[in-house]
């Protein structure tokens, strides 16, 4: 079973600060997705990265896929309380083994 390790598990920062969360594996993925989940709701897809070294921006969120397609990071600039949630990464192996989820990073942005 392939594993995705997310760090940190918990992060609480003040509004306006920058932060980076990480998603690491020893395995290669054909693509990687980031989801955000709010309390009492299902995960909602934020982005998919496919190419090694790829960088995608979604307003204040920047996603990067590692060159070797084993890891990814999510950077948030000038965090806002609305960014609060559980951030999940999920890797697709492109074959029969399917999608692997990390356990997530719980992010709290305090006003």
């Amino acid at each position: 079973t392939q594993l995705l390790e997310q760090s940190p598990q918990f992060l609480s920062i003040q509004e306006g600060e920058n932060l980076t969360v990480y998603c690491n594996s020893s395995s290669v993925f054909s693509s990687l997705q980031w989801y955000r989940q709010e309390p009492g709701e299902g995960p909602v897809l934020l982005v998919t990265v496919v190419t090694g070294g790829e960088v995608k921006k979604l307003k204040r969120l920047t996603f990067q896929f590692g060159d070797a397609r084993k890891d990814s990071s999510l950077h948030i600039t000038a965090a806002q309380p609305g960014d609060t949630g559980l951030y999940l990464c999920a890797g697709a192996e492109g074959g029969a083994d399917g999608l692997t989820f990390g356990k997530g990073t719980h992010l709290i942005i305090q006003p």
Partner: protein
């Protein structure tokens, strides 16, 4: 927009009851999945289906069964609910990608929070 609808947001059942969780998707996706989510354990795959009447065991199928009689509907069944099945249950769907039976991008429902007393 893709819509995955779970029939109940909250359920309270008693030990030993038979429980049905229903999930419907409106995007003609081939793949459908059932997960449970618990603090510290993340999302764990219970069962998935890549076609009508087809099902595959995930990582934790014990105590559960599934039914897929129509492409848009995937049901999770707890034959005899137990307290350790108290959890958040999430349904998801995706397109069939190549030969992968799980696909890439998954779209989730809002979840059913089940309490077994």
């Amino acid at each position: 927009d893709v819509k995955v609808t779970q029939s109940s947001r909250y359920l309270v059942k008693r030990t030993g009851e038979k429980v049905f969780l229903e999930c419907v998707q409106d995007m003609d996706h081939e793949n459908m999945f059932w997960y449970r989510q618990d603090p510290g354990l993340g999302l764990r795959l219970i069962y998935f289906s890549y076609d009508v009447k087809m099902k595959e065991k995930g990582d934790i199928p014990e105590g559960y069964s599934v039914s897929r009689e129509k492409k848009e509907r995937f049901s999770l069944i707890l034959e005899s609910a137990s307290t350790n099945q108290t959890s958040m249950y999430l349904c998801a769907s995706s397109f069939f990608v190549g030969h992968s039976s799980r696909g890439d991008i998954q779209y989730f429902g809002a979840g059913t929070r089940l309490s077994v007393l």
